[in-house]
């Protein structure tokens, strides 16, 4: 039987507000335990939540970017369960009336476009963290994260392969960073993903029983975890068994999913509207103000890069993968006043290569826009060759100054003086009588040998086109 996987994703994006969603405590990551957990966050009696306007703006921003309906009125509800990192005994979330509903994202897989529906995006507060290392047989609780704003973005079960799920997730990740509503840091847990996976016989309308995969906190593992789960469910069904609806954890070390200990009645959250919080009402003016803050979105930017800079769709895609890289590129093109394709090659090639190697973001690049532009100007005006430019780039990366300083200090200026090149060629030819004889007897591949020797004699500085031209003229043939 042919099986068809059905996948839906739930993403929790931590919003980049300065203070928490329902209190004025800081959301900064990495502070000493419980130093950013105020009376509201730890649920002391008598406290009341007061909502952060910025969290509402950010939710609306996402809603507008995915073409969704922004609900003029949405309602906060209490999701009740007991866990030590949730001191109130409930999480404030949205249930029946979320702030954002019915949007979509377009993904591209194997050259084909596909629209993935987004059912809803709702605002909620995060819980604290449990530290399970041994504290004399006890568990440590850090409530700094409690009440940090989250936007939970729930997709329709529209994806049919792990590949599509990854494409959707990458698209969403790119979008929240473009919108500057989430830093997308998966290691620190600011962008977390759960996947609902089921399989059904191909052609059948009715959905199979799903399992929920939790704890997929790296792009590297998402397709592996989903593929494993698809295979597992197919094996169960083909073996005559039934898939159980359950929550499973992905174990990255072993590459398998395994069931979480099922908490008794874990799903009976008894949602009800939070009496502390009247409805969140957003008027048209509020929404229009947010609309004005929308940046150029990735797709529009990509199209513009192809159109305005004559880049390939691929290059434009790489350069617009983050807003920072796109800005860097555009500023470099302007500063260098050079062929945009040449600038693109340097940003996508050497710069990205060095950044990846040292695991740096473009914002932390030791080579500023102005420095890269300075280097490219010297390539464009033929002061240095593309090959020497790579050495200059390396020196700039290692903080030896800007391109002009390095070219001057290391004497890297390209030799374009015909007389000087001629002199180098004469010397090489005089010192290679055997090769000259070989060339004369028709072995034309020796030509490359001469070019190599001349370039070496010039320490790579001779203009290669001129070397070729003059050498051809000097050799008999």
């Amino acid at each position: 039987m042919k099986w068809e996987p059905v996948i839906g994703l739930e993403v929790h994006a931590q919003l980049l507000t300065k203070s928490k969603i329902f209190s004025a405590a800081s959301t900064r990551y990495g502070a000493a335990p419980n130093t950013q957990a105020c009376a509201v966050d730890i649920g002391l009696p008598g406290v009341l939540p007061v909502m952060n306007i910025e969290a509402a703006r950010m939710a609306v921003k996402l809603g507008l970017a995915i073409g969704a309906t922004i609900n003029r009125q949405s309602v906060f509800a209490r999701k009740n369960y007991f866990y030590p990192d949730l001191p109130k005994g409930y999480q404030i979330s949205q249930y029946e009336l979320p702030v954002v509903e019915q949007g979509h994202l377009t993904i591209e897989v194997d050259g084909r476009e596909k629209t993935v529906g987004i059912t809803r995006a709702h605002l909620e507060e995060d819980a604290g963290k449990s530290l399970h290392e041994d504290f004399h047989g006890m568990t440590g609780i850090d409530l700094n994260r409690a009440s940090t704003p989250l936007l939970e973005i729930v997709s329709e079960p529209d994806m049919r392969s792990a590949k599509e799920a990854v494409a959707y997730l990458k698209k969403l990740h790119e979008l929240v960073r473009y919108l500057e509503i989430c830093d997308g840091n998966m290691q620190e847990g600011s962008f977390r993903c759960d996947a609902n996976v089921s399989v059904r016989p191909k052609g059948r309308e009715q959905l199979g029983t799903r399992s929920e995969l939790k704890n997929i906190n790296s792009f590297k593992f998402i397709d592996k975890a989903i593929d494993y789960e698809i295979e597992r469910q197919i094996d169960v069904l083909e073996g005559g068994g039934k898939v159980v609806q359950e929550t499973r954890l992905y174990d990255a070390a072993k590459g398998v999913t395994r069931p979480m200990r099922s908490k008794e009645e874990a799903n009976d959250y008894r949602y009800f509207p939070d009496p502390d919080l009247p409805p969140l009402v957003l008027d048209d003016a509020f929404i229009e103000d947010v609309r004005k803050t929308l940046p150029e979105l990735p797709e529009a930017k990509r199209a513009r890069f192809v159109q305005d800079y004559g880049l390939s769709a691929y290059d434009a895609g790489v350069l617009t993968s983050t807003r920072e890289m796109a800005d860097y590129y555009e500023q470099a093109v302007e500063a260098a006043n050079a062929d945009p394709k040449l600038v693109a090659n340097w940003v996508i090639g050497d710069l990205s290569g060095y950044l990846n190697k040292e695991n740096k973001e473009i914002a932390d690049s030791p080579i500023t826009v102005e420095m890269l532009a300075g280097l490219i100007r010297r390539i464009a005006d033929k002061t240095i060759s593309g090959k020497i430019a790579k050495d200059v780039f390396d020196a700039m990366w290692n903080e030896q100054g800007d391109a002009d300083t390095i070219i001057e200090n290391k004497g890297l200026r390209q030799i374009t003086d015909e007389g000087a090149i001629e002199k180098l060629i004469d010397e090489v030819l005089a010192n290679s009588p055997t090769q000259v004889e070989q060339y004369k007897s028709g072995q034309e591949k020796v030509f490359g040998y001469f070019v190599g020797r001349v370039m070496k004699a010039s320490k790579g500085k001779a203009n290669p086109q001129q070397v070729n031209k003059i050498l051809k003229a000097k050799l008999p043939g």
Partner: protein, 95 residues
Amino acid sequence: MSLDKDTVEKIAHLARLQLNEQELQAYTDSLSQILGLIEQMNAVDTTGVAPMAHPQDTVLRLREDRIEETDQREKFQRISPATEAGLYLVPKVIE
């Protein structure tokens, strides 16, 4: 509408309430009465009445995104039964 004891036991468990046999009976009776009242209200024709999310006809007040809280960990932890390295300690949670 009346609730059975099993349902009340389940609700009590979800709320982490321990009820003895006498209390269980008392809650079963009074919760059933509350449900009866709700049933009575359900019978009212509410066609054309917009549902309310909150008993007060008011909207959520929003505050600007500013950090105004300071670190009061020491104060808060003074009333905590066990702390270590800035953490609240609780009986081991096994996941």
